[in-house]
């Protein structure tokens, strides 16, 4: 069934339509919020709140934009509020990036490659202003126009934020790989 039709049914109080919509979006929203907050349990809680808002505020939805934009707007707003509450923002200037992660942090996780682990850490240290557009673009696969619609910002701003976020991640990865290499070389020297 069409998403718009499902929302229309939710507006009439149909719980089956709501369950169907939850089934479609639950994994995407949980994944998005998990990448945003870096905490799975918090992501699940925020996803629940997102769907609750969808159910109780369904009458506010206007079918001028796709439903996915609306639900992602709710989710990102909730995440931003939560992150503010937690004071989890780590304000890092994009021009003057100082890597403060301990060298042990770069040790390879058996379940994932070191590069991916480093990328996760870099992503977590990124300011939400850049993190949200990057996640929406490169992980969730939204177009720049859709992201502008979700975040209610001009297209130029979104393009700039995605670009800055990506540059920051690139810099971070380069730095961590350099540190890793120097750490390995040092260990080799010590071992003879």
């Amino acid at each position: 069934m069409d998403e718009q039709e499902l929302v229309r049914q939710i507006q009439e109080g149909d719980e089956m339509a709501f369950t169907e919509l939850v089934r479609i979006y639950k994994d995407r929203i949980v994944n998005f919020l998990c990448k945003l907050t870096g905490d799975y349990q918090k992501a699940v809680d925020l996803s629940q709140e997102t769907f609750m808002r969808v159910y109780f505020k369904a009458h506010q939805y206007k079918p001028v934009a796709p439903f996915s934009s609306w639900i992602y707007t709710i989710a990102s707003n909730l995440a931003k509020t939560e992150m503010k509450k937690m004071r989890k923002f780590s304000f890092v200037s994009l021009d003057d990036v100082q890597n403060t992660l301990p060298i042990e942090a770069y040790a390879k996780n058996p379940s994932e490659s070191g590069m991916i682990s480093n990328l996760k850490k870099a992503l977590n240290s990124l300011h939400p202003r850049y993190k949200i557009p990057v996640i929406l673009k490169d992980i969730e696969g939204f177009s720049q126009e859709e992201i502008a619609q979700i975040l209610k910002r001009p297209l130029g701003t979104i393009k700039a934020r995605i670009n800055r976020g990506r540059n920051y991640l690139k810099k971070e990865l380069e730095k961590t790989s350099y540190k890793e290499n120097s750490f390995v070389k040092k260990e080799e020297c010590q071992n003879g």
């Binding site: 719980e15 639950k26 994994d27 990448k35 799975y40 996803s47 629940q48 609750m52 109780f56 990328l119």
Partner: protein, 132 residues
């Protein structure tokens, strides 16, 4: 760009299996809470409007109405007490000057025989003033 490919390679997490059940339970819980709040608001509004109606009925139909004189007395007492305290008003009496047109009376008198009326004061006391 390598980092973009890596971003796509990041593992995707899934919602827990009991996600929907928990969500529906929360939805029904919030529905009940909303309903309770709605009833509370309605009862509050009802109580307020009942109090308002009671107040209006008491004032309009049940409490005795004051006549203008009583009201004036009341006002006088109130205002004099108030102004004595403030020292603003010195006079508590208001002299009333009534304008009387005697021309009609003189015209009627002119038809009668020439009579001189001597008007003299009968009452020795000073004119009294109406006190409010």
């Amino acid at each position: 760009m390598d980092e973009l490919n890596l971003l796509k390679k990041l593992e995707r997490v899934k919602a827990p299996p009991d996600f929907e059940q928990k969500l529906l339970a929360q939805v029904s819980l919030r529905k009940r809470k909303k309903l309770r709040v709605k009833y509370f608001r309605l009862s509050l509004a009802g109580a307020f409007s009942a109090a308002l109606v009671f107040f209006i009925v008491m004032n309009v139909f049940i409490l005795p109405k004051k006549s203008p004189v009583e009201f004036a007395d009341f006002e006088k007492g109130f205002s004099s007490a108030f102004q004595r305290g403030k020292g603003l008003r010195k006079r508590e009496t208001i002299p009333i000057i009534e304008a009387v047109d005697y021309t009609g009376e003189i015209r009627t008198l002119s038809r009668e025989p020439q009579t001189i009326y001597l008007l003299e004061q009968v009452f020795e006391g000073t004119s009294t003033e109406i006190k409010y």
